[in-house]
Symmetry: C2
Subunit: 338 residues, 2 copies
Amino acid sequence: MGGDNAPGVEVEGAVAAARRWGVAIILVGDADKVGAELKKHRVDGLTIAIHHASDVVGMHDSASDVIRKKKDCSIRVAFDLVRNGQAQAVVSAGNSGATMAAGMFVLKRIPGIDRPAIATIMPNIKDKTLVLDVGGNVDCKPLHLVQFALMGEVYTRRVLGKERPKVGLLSNGEEESKGNDLTREAHRLLKSASFNYVGYVEGRDIYNGSVDVVVCDGFVGNVVLKVAEGLSEGIFTMLRKEIGSRPLAKIGYLLARPAFQAFRKRVDYSEYGGAPLLGIDGTGVICHGGSSPKAIMNAVRMSRECVVKKVNQTMIAQIQEYCDGQPAAVDASSATQG
Amino acid sequence: MGGDNAPGVEVEGAVAAARRWGVAIILVGDADKVGAELKKHRVDGLTIAIHHASDVVGMHDSASDVIRKKKDCSIRVAFDLVRNGQAQAVVSAGNSGATMAAGMFVLKRIPGIDRPAIATIMPNIKDKTLVLDVGGNVDCKPLHLVQFALMGEVYTRRVLGKERPKVGLLSNGEEESKGNDLTREAHRLLKSASFNYVGYVEGRDIYNGSVDVVVCDGFVGNVVLKVAEGLSEGIFTMLRKEIGSRPLAKIGYLLARPAFQAFRKRVDYSEYGGAPLLGIDGTGVICHGGSSPKAIMNAVRMSRECVVKKVNQTMIAQIQEYCDGQPAAVDASSATQG
């Protein structure tokens, strides 16, 4: 209910997902509104139910509202369904902070994870890179970054199908002497991880395909995400302007358009679906507020894959293995929540 | 001497600057090599001298080498010339960490500045944005960010000619509730600044022209810079690939090429010259290692403008004004150097 164009887009995407991926869908929200949207679609042979929720978290509500005030808001009710075993995953295009808070409050964290993280998939020139955290973990401790690395590695291996993902820690240079207080200690801890930790990487490595997972705190991750969005938009705005002022270039653009469209498809977020919410004891995928039905459909696919490929179970085992390999002084519970 | 193609490119750029901007040039470096390069150019009517320096700092030397070991390296000798009143500014395409270290060691900082910063000019859809620090100040205190804001504001006003530059603090969202420990305190301090502080800005604001100066610590600034470089390259690599695989699109590209070239010129770093090193008691401009002669020429223009427009004098007055307006508890000297 919380998306920019809810619930029309969500219902359309969910119906498409039910048809295409054969998943059973429970639409959570205002039963009248959702029902009216659902009537617009053919649903023969599909398993689609409506579960009423009386309230909605808006984009400007604080994440804590979902916990303290809005007990019957759709995002919280959706996670309740997972907790009660009626559903296996939640997909939301609503307020991402509230989705994260609701997921954590209702489902709790998986053992060994102090802070759930939001991961985003970014296209690179060869394939794609998973960047996390791009959620709200702004002041992290080194161990949190280690946990993000662990979760990102498992997700990339299990869901994105990379056999031995290369995991890098985002820094201001590749040399050992680089980094800040946070990354230096995280780098030290990550060196003893059993997965393929490749060390410090730079901002450019997100796009050149040299690494599969890029780990950073949520402040830096958000900056990266917004810089990427802003720069892409900026480049195309400037290019459009230059092309638009030249008649011959306009004709040229028309001829080259299929190439631009292919590029656009390649970097189109709706192909990926959404951003996995990792570290909660259940499955959640967070979509852009303005998601298209296609993005919703692909987000359902993502969430399904997380469940089928046992992402959380793998994470739990991996974290246990990491903790067992550490000296006693490194204790996940000593990291405070911010 | 430390640039990727030194000293040929530097000499060519310096000669062009002498001719175009009428500045007197002292070329600092290996007298034989520099002299051989200089002989390739017509220098009638220009004031160009060579000052010998026996050593060079390489790209992989540490910044401390310039201070402890290489006392006769070209970058240090160049700053010595400024200290001794023989020159008024230094332009370097060498190791930027070493340039910053040499500038700070030889010229010291201007009063009230704890840490010099490197500022970079990024094109936005309307004009340009100054982002600082993109240098090596990875672990900053809130007061350092205030000082960066002050310096960036003065540079933008005096050199880039914006009358009342809008200064923003880079954060993970615009709301007051956003930010990390560092930005929250810096935000509180910046609110009492006399210049036009507009509050938190996001990564996308670097490109949409909504703000003139974006302030961040050097870790985040470096990530922004490298993400921007990597993404721009990535976008054009992917576009080229899509165009290259379609004969019709190739023809279209040829027709649209002037538009692409105009765009390229607009975002071409060599038009800006270099990155001003702010906060040292003198003037320094740091260029890309692989700078073109044009970039060197424009960097000389930048350095000249800093001197002519009395950037440092304005900064000193501005900092004094800021400090006078603060309660006694806020003391610049309490900020430690990292």
